[in-house]
């Protein structure tokens, strides 16, 4: 996968920080809702980033990252609700809890490969909402009713709206996590991770502790996704088992593949896509129904399916891969 041009990254980042400040100039364009929407994209991007560390860089497939997202969200919610912990302090807690859960799950996963690992993780995603409803945990998790929370308040009397602050909060978290991931991948450990993905046996023979690397990667990946879950608990201000059904995990996977497997920038693209595709499918379906006046009712879900297949058709390597190829073609590079 191509490296993302650094200069462009800085420009994008600067833009991301400046845009909300344009609110007084364009109140309708840079509205609270839009910032909130972007915040949900950022949260999804972090979750996909976590999945990418595991699947894209370490070669372990997971159909169940929604489970870690749920654990992170619930960790944050329970701490805020029962212990009155401030929202920002819940992030490290969620990370630690998810790391432990992920690490422990990574142990049996060592024995499983391919489809079997897919099943095991899929099962995890199904089991977590049921565990949240488990009779003896109800007092803590609120059972089926879930937990209603407060939205993060703006600190230090900053002149920001709730949505603006949420946006910055998510953005900062993402930048830190992205930077950490990039550094990790660039280190000895990161190269070991990828070596395990590409040449398992060679890596093993060369003395890389494959078992340790694989389980720790599982833990780190879970921690990333768990942090995203904790952020979402703050952003949505509500957690319930229904929020973490199996479709959530599948959507992360879609985000991963559509963004670009094994590319950090791809994770961000995937997170954005994950939110965008849903909304554009709805818009398209409404457009077909109301403006084209087709007699056939084209539901948003059908459009969603068609969009997915079309995207895989056009860019089987994901958005980042597709854009990269297009860029090369444009520059006339062959190869």
């Amino acid at each position: 996968m191509p490296a993302f041009p650094k200069k462009l990254l800085w420009v994008l980042l600067a833009l991301a920080f400046l845009v909300p400040l344009l609110h007084p100039l364009f109140p309708d364009v840079v509205s609270g809702y839009r910032l909130f929407l972007v915040s949900t994209m950022i949260i999804a991007a972090i979750a996909v980033l976590g999945l990418n560390l595991l699947t894209g860089f370490n070669g372990q497939i997971s159909l169940g990252h929604g489970a870690f997202y749920a654990v992170g969200a619930y960790t944050a919610a329970v701490l805020m609700d029962h212990l009155n912990m401030p929202y920002w302090a819940t992030l490290p807690c969620a990370a630690v809890v998810c790391f432990i859960v992920g690490y422990l799950f990574g142990l049996p996963a060592l024995k499983l490969e391919g489809h079997y690992l897919a099943l095991a993780t899929f099962a995890l995603a199904l089991a977590v909402p049921q565990i949240l409803k488990y009779k003896w945990l109800e007092g803590m998790t609120g059972g089926v009713q879930g937990i209603v929370l407060n939205k993060p308040e703006v600190p230090f009397g900053l002149p920001l709206s709730e949505d603006q602050w949420l946006y910055y909060y998510c953005l900062i978290v993402m930048v830190v996590l992205y930077w950490a991931a990039a550094n990790m991948l660039n280190s000895r450990s990161g190269r070991a991770m990828m070596a395990i993905r590409d040449q398992y046996m060679a890596a093993d023979t060369m003395g890389i502790d494959t078992a340790l690397y694989k389980t720790v990667t599982f833990g780190i990946s879970a921690a990333y996704t768990g942090i995203a879950g904790a952020l979402s608990a703050s952003a949505i201000a509500f957690v319930a088992p229904d929020s973490f059904n199996i479709f959530l995990s599948i959507k992360f996977l879609i985000g991963l593949v559509v963004g670009g497997v094994g590319s950090l920038a791809g994770s961000v693209a995937g997170g954005i896509f994950y939110v965008l595709v849903d909304n554009s499918a709805q818009a398209l379906s409404l457009f077909v129904r109301n403006d084209l006046g087709l007699p056939f009712d084209l539901s948003a879900y059908t459009v969603f399916g068609v969009l997915l297949i079309a995207l895989m058709y056009l860019m089987p390597m994901g958005i980042v891969g597709g854009v990269y190829l297009a860029w090369r073609k444009l520059r006339g590079v062959r190869g």
């Binding site: 089926v144 009713q145 879930g146 201000a237 509500f238």
Partner: protein
């Protein structure tokens, strides 16, 4: 049509009374989403995902507003109804509702569907002071005008309904040993809490309480457990698919308890027929709407109007689906509420009018059941009537009952 006109006149006279008490009628007042020409209403519905069978409610409401616009709208204003797919996922609902309130600037949200989804937006709607009217869920938490003055339910809540069953069991079956099948989510939980409250100190009569998940292929295993417990009364809290399985499995096992079926699954076409009419005889339920597949309503004027309306506005739709009846009735209530607002289409006035229905007769509600609300009573439909299944129809019996939730 007669009833409609009478109601309309009634509505107008209420407005007249209000105007006498200081509300200026002539002056036009608008909140976001209302203009001289248009009233914009938002909605979320699960058109995809596990709860997509409820999607027809949204579709039917959409058709209803089209027919209203065709008749000339509400006091000359066209209704623009924007409905989006939330897939029954609370985070998605939050996002979509914010889009509808902040970008689309709707006057109110109407009939947002689902308990967890509505819970997720409950606080937001009340902070933003945007009406969250006649939500499509039977949870009991939607009628709390003190804490949540911008949220109102519609149907009799599950809690109340379960209390009624419990009281009926206590009164009629002295040696009841009760078995309960419950869907393991907040809908099931609400019924269960109400049932426990209704039983009070007789809670010990519940000999077995089993749950199922919507991902379970069948509830056969659960029914075997219930039969094995020796229960002679069966309270069935399940959605049509599983209710039908439960009825059939009980018959297969030769288990013949007194069977109380929750209203959610009272449809003849989608529960009792698939379960087998011969297996469904004697089942008890509580009703508040007419069932379109129940022959006793074939000559009912409301039902005929509805049926003709369906043919015109929802051609090809499966008329045996009770959701269409539900959607039609609740849309009618919304239409009347908007009409009553007159030219004062502010959010405050909309809530005021919603909380000001006296004995409003809404078509397709069972005869004798009317809509009553007040600033302290945010439960529009509170009454139900018990019915037992005989032959191919529900036989209503006893008085119309209401037990208020707290």
């Amino acid at each position: 049509m007669k009833t409609t006109r009478r109601n309309f006149v009634g509505g107008v006279s209420t407005v007249a009374m209000l105007s006498a008490s200081g509300v200026a009628l002539a002056q036009k007042k608008y909140s976001d989403g209302a203009t001289d020409k248009e009233i914009k209403i938002g909605n979320t519905n699960p058109y995809s995902g596990p709860a997509s069978s409820y999607g027809v409610i949204g579709k039917c409401i959409e058709a209803y507003w089209k027919s209203v616009n065709d008749r000339g709208g509400i006091n000359g204003r066209m209704v623009k109804f924007v409905t989006l797919d939330d897939g029954y996922s609370p985070p998605k609902t939050v996002e979509l509702v914010r889009q509808l309130v902040e970008q689309e600037k709707v006057l109110a949200m109407f009939q947002t569907l689902g308990t967890p989804t509505n819970t997720a937006i409950h606080k937001y709607m009340n902070q933003k002071k945007v009406p969250q009217l006649f939500v499509a869920t039977g949870a009991s938490k939607w009628g709390k005008p003190k804490e949540f003055p911008w949220t109102m339910g519609f149907q009799p809540d599950y809690h109340t309904e379960a209390v009624i069953y419990a009281k009926h069991i206590l009164a009629n079956h002295k040696d009841a040993k009760i078995g309960v099948l419950m869907q393991n989510d907040d809908y099931g939980k609400d019924y269960w809490e109400g049932f426990k409250e209704g039983l009070g100190k007789d809670i010990g009569k519940v000999v077995k309480h089993v749950t199922y998940e919507t991902t379970d292929p069948t509830v056969d295993s659960q029914i075997i457990q219930l039969k094995d417990s020796g229960a002679n009364v069966f309270f069935n809290i399940s959605i049509p698919k599983f209710a039908a399985q439960a009825i059939r499995k009980a018959a297969d096992l030769g288990w013949k308890p007194v069977h109380y079926l929750n209203n959610v699954s009272s449809s003849v076409a989608s529960t009792l027929k698939p379960a087998g009419l011969e297996n469904s005889q004697g089942i008890l339920t509580a009703l508040y709407l007419m069932d379109p597949t129940d022959k006793q309503w074939n000559n009912n004027a409301d039902m005929k109007t509805w049926s003709a309306w369906m043919d015109k506005w929802m051609p090809g739709a499966n008329k045996s689906d009770g959701s269409y009846v539900y959607a039609y009735a609740v849309s009618y209530l919304m239409e009347q509420t908007l009409k009553k607002c007159g030219d004062d289409l502010t959010r405050e006035n909309l809530m005021r009018q919603a909380a000001n229905h006296q004995k409003l007769r809404v078509p397709l509600l069972l005869p004798g059941i009317t809509i009553n609300t007040s600033p302290t009573d945010f439960y529009p439909v509170q009454s139900v009537q018990l019915a037992s299944f005989k032959g191919e129809t529900w036989n209503l019996f006893g008085d119309i009952m209401s037990a208020e939730s707290t």
